[in-house]
Symmetry: C2
Subunit: 530 residues, 2 copies
């Protein structure tokens, strides 16, 4: 504790820290299963070169910042874990004896923020799936934590392991889904004490991407870290230098951090793993009924959580999470993908960049089905998170109904939209050949460019070919039965699942993983899930 | 001809130039019908303060610019009207004798661009509907020129006057639809020779907004100008200072301007009315199969048309139009609202700003119905045109199926999305009260903001209340029959039509308008529509 982590902030094969055993395993794996790298996809390692938008002036940004520090100084937070309060006190915070209340001097907060790494790599068991966090990097994580799952045939139902596994397999199928994001749906048919063991094991086996562990108690985090370590086949010292999994820490807004979340920070930050501190500040419910007020509160809660990661270990990798939206004042329903959400996402990016901390936001919508609303709320979310400089995007694919349902069809819709964002961010080719003067000379006024050499040379690759968009003319579309986007998405998710291929996994790693899971189950898993 | 127009570039009541008769009419009108101004809506006079995005570097922008000038110098354009070629020759262009080909020296083009007004006002018959064009102003025009119309009950059908009138009435119902954009659907049940007389008369009577006249031959433009003049109740000298209607001039890409379009420029620019020069450069069909190449061609064609407006009359108001997209290379179908479209829209804005000319672009999609595709393609279009600095947005509401169909339901969907864009562009309230410290002190850690004074004070106005978004929980939504966005839009367009109110019109103006239409019909309208 208290020692400073020095992170590798570039992709690394991890070879430097390997023991001879690991090195042998790795080379054996390569020989037996061929190289692990898929053909490099343009959707890996996305960079967002767009100049970022601002909805707060410099003065307003400073006002939000100062107001949030005033809150931490004068109101403080309720910190529902004695160990955390002790650590905070040791770091210089003011703990009111006999209560949960902790107040933080603004100097203390800023001192803690100073050691947050502005960029780092999250390491996957397959290095081509490593993700760069921070700067202009843009990483999309799958839907997480929905209690329900839906597809057209099966309707909306409670989550189970089969649907969990199907959704995880779909995440593996698309390079634009850079990481999973948690359990895409909660598999309630797996008994709670061992659920995380089965689920994390599935995440390692069914994908080769970075994954998430819930902060539902210390042991939960520890099991997750061990499973990630086994999956990567590396020693713990290397894990501590190379963050390999992440946890979401939600505050209980307003201004409270509960025990499991605080334990999550302690377990993860101490071992150099990634904490994503995300207040859920819903203006009019868990936060003031203004976007500015909700942002102030978001910022106070996020900074408190981030500061705590640095109290646990200076240099621990952490992400600034924003999840500010509002309720519909007439019904109390949460609203997502709205103009207010857009402003909150962009303002959150301004705040995170002010502190030079990577920024997490989300692809949201509140629709109950895959209709125009699902699309426009998500598209507005994508607009804001792209222009706002989101680095790590939770719920990128499959989230619907305000997070209550993971939808198979929405997953495909989102993948298509994410790919469109990636294509939009791809630099325009302005080479002399692309400018096309020679082609225009050849064709001349009144001609056309169908079938010209300049066109034929680009036949395959000129433009993005969407997964879902139906561009047939009305007559052909009518003849095909007038399918909607929903129909296409329903067909495609099933086709894609049929084409799923399990990523290679070193049998030695698989054995070690199975043995760990079996042993932990014998020990009873986690008898009482916090 | 050749004299310089000095435009009023701010809203003006027009009173300065009125004759005593007009002044009397105006005051009589006010007395009889009450003030014309509706309650000022926040959706009028939209300003887009966003820093504009760029997809072209400064060098690339210059390369596109220079390449387009090279095209005009070395390839030239086919100009299919002797009078236009004569005017171009007189201005210094090189006309190849015995052909339609005209080449333009780059110095000549740039000299002509120098007199284009960077901003101007388009004057509606109701001054509160005046629209500011250029700068950071953002004006939304309704769908135009669809051959088909659709609603759920009636299906997709050829346009007729009843549907035309319904769509025009809907445009009047929403302040966010700042102008009509032409005939929202072509009413083929009105005989062609007098169609424009009936339609333009409807536009004046059913709305009080700026409207469009087609460039389908000289007489067409002249009738439109006279109808706009009668509608405003002003003398022609005033019309020439105060642009009051607009025409779209499409090039016949590649590199051709047809006779009616050239006549449109001559008639409109000579009288100080607005020309929107819009090449239809579809990469892979009417333009090279690269977005950069299509942009070069778009720019060449737009600059030639814009330069011609200034050859007709220096200072004539003109708008730089971009409509670059691409075809699906596998089927030849036009694609809209794609990543390529987004880049083209943003690059077009960079070009228009380089010349300091107002920029027209569009809200596009290629869906055959009101599904997720219709929404995401439109939302991506709105993203690009907002970030790209579009000033005058054609087809903002109701356009679907790549422009073939005006959809009643899509109109409502678009209105909702346009209002969301407007709300997004509204500055965030960061007053001390909005920052909410007092509210947070009152509520404290672990509380909630439901029903607090800070919340109750904002109950009505805190957040945008969408027209269509269905935020009910799954159970309530199921009980309601699981309506989609399409269902809601279908209901709402009918409710809105029932609530339509005809805007007041001075009876003297109405009489003059009817008399003009009757006289022109007696004269045979336009016997041969070009």
């Amino acid at each position: 504790m208290g020692d400073v982590i020095k992170l590798e902030n570039r992709q690394s094969s991890g070879a430097a820290g390997e023991t001879p055993v690991e090195r042998r395993r790795r080379s054996g794996r390569a020989a037996e299963h061929g190289p692990r790298a898929p053909a490099i996809s343009k959707y890996l390692n996305l960079v967002n070169p767009t100049a970022k938008s601002a909805v707060l002036s410099e003065d307003a940004l400073e006002a939000v910042h100062q107001a949030s520090l005033t809150i931490l100084e004068e109101i403080g937070m309720d910190i529902i874990l004695p160990e955390a309060r002790d650590r905070m006190k040791a770091a210089g915070a003011e703990v009111t004896p006999g209560t949960d209340r902790v107040r933080f001097d603004r100097g203390l907060i800023m001192e803690m923020l100073a050691s947050v790494p502005p960029r780092f790599t999250m390491h996957a068991r397959n290095p081509v799936r490593n993700v760069e966090i921070g700067g202009d990097n843009l990483v999309f994580a799958q839907v997480a934590s929905a209690p329900f799952v839906a597809d057209r045939e099966g309707g909306r139902r409670a989550g189970n392991r089969e649907d969990f596994r199907k959704l995880v397999k779909l995440a593996q199928c698309y390079d634009i889904v850079h990481t999973t994001g948690g359990y895409p749906v909660e598999p309630v048919d797996i008994p709670a004490p061992a659920r995380h063991l089965d689920c994390l094991s599935d995440l390692v086996k069914l994908t080769d991407k970075v994954f998430h562990v819930y902060s539902h108690g210390r042991q939960h985090n520890r099991d997750g870290i061990e499973i990630a370590r086994i999956g990567r086949g590396i020693p713990m010292e290397q894990m501590e230098r190379e963050p390999s999994l992440f946890t979401i820490v939600n505050t209980s807004s307003p201004l409270r951090l509960d025990a499991p979340m605080l334990q999550g920070i302690i377990e993860m930050s101490a071992r150099g793993q990634v904490v994503v501190v995300t207040p859920f500040t819903l203006a009019g419910a868990t936060a003031p009924a203004t976007i500015a007020g909700a942002l102030v509160q978001q910022n106070a809660e996020a900074l408190a959580g981030i500061a705590f990661t640095q109290m646990v270990r200076r240099g621990a990798p952490v992400i600034y999470g924003g999840f500010t939206s509002n309720i519909d004042m007439k019904t109390g329903a949460p609203a997502f993908g709205t103009p207010e959400y857009m402003k909150a996402v962009i303002a959150g990016g301004q705040l995170a960049r002010k502190y030079d901390i990577p920024y997490r936001t989300s692809n949201t919508n509140a629709s109950n089905t895959l209709d125009a609303q699902a699309a426009y709320e998500s598209a507005f979310s994508l607009w804001a998170l792209t222009q706002g400089g989101g680095n790590f995007i939770m719920h990128s694919a499959g989230w619907t109904e305000g997070g209550l349902t993971a939808s198979f069809e929405k997953f495909i819709l989102d993948v298509d939209m994410l790919q469109m964002v990636a294509e939009y961010l791809t630099p325009l080719d302005v080479s002399a050949d692309a400018l096309g003067l020679a082609a225009m000379r050849d064709v001349g006024p009144g001609g056309h460019f169908f079938g010209t050499p300049h066109t034929l040379a680009r036949y395959e690759t000129a433009f993005y070919s969407p997964i879902l968009s139906d561009w047939r003319n009305f007559e052909a579309w009518t003849e095909a039965g007038r399918p909607t986007t929903y129909d296409h998405a329903n067909r495609i998710f099933k086709e894609k699942l049929n084409a799923y291929e399990k990523p290679p996994l070193d049998p030695a790693v698989e054995d070690e993983l199975d043995a760990f899971v079996a042993r932990r189950k014998e020990e009873g898993g986690i008898p009482t899930q916090l």
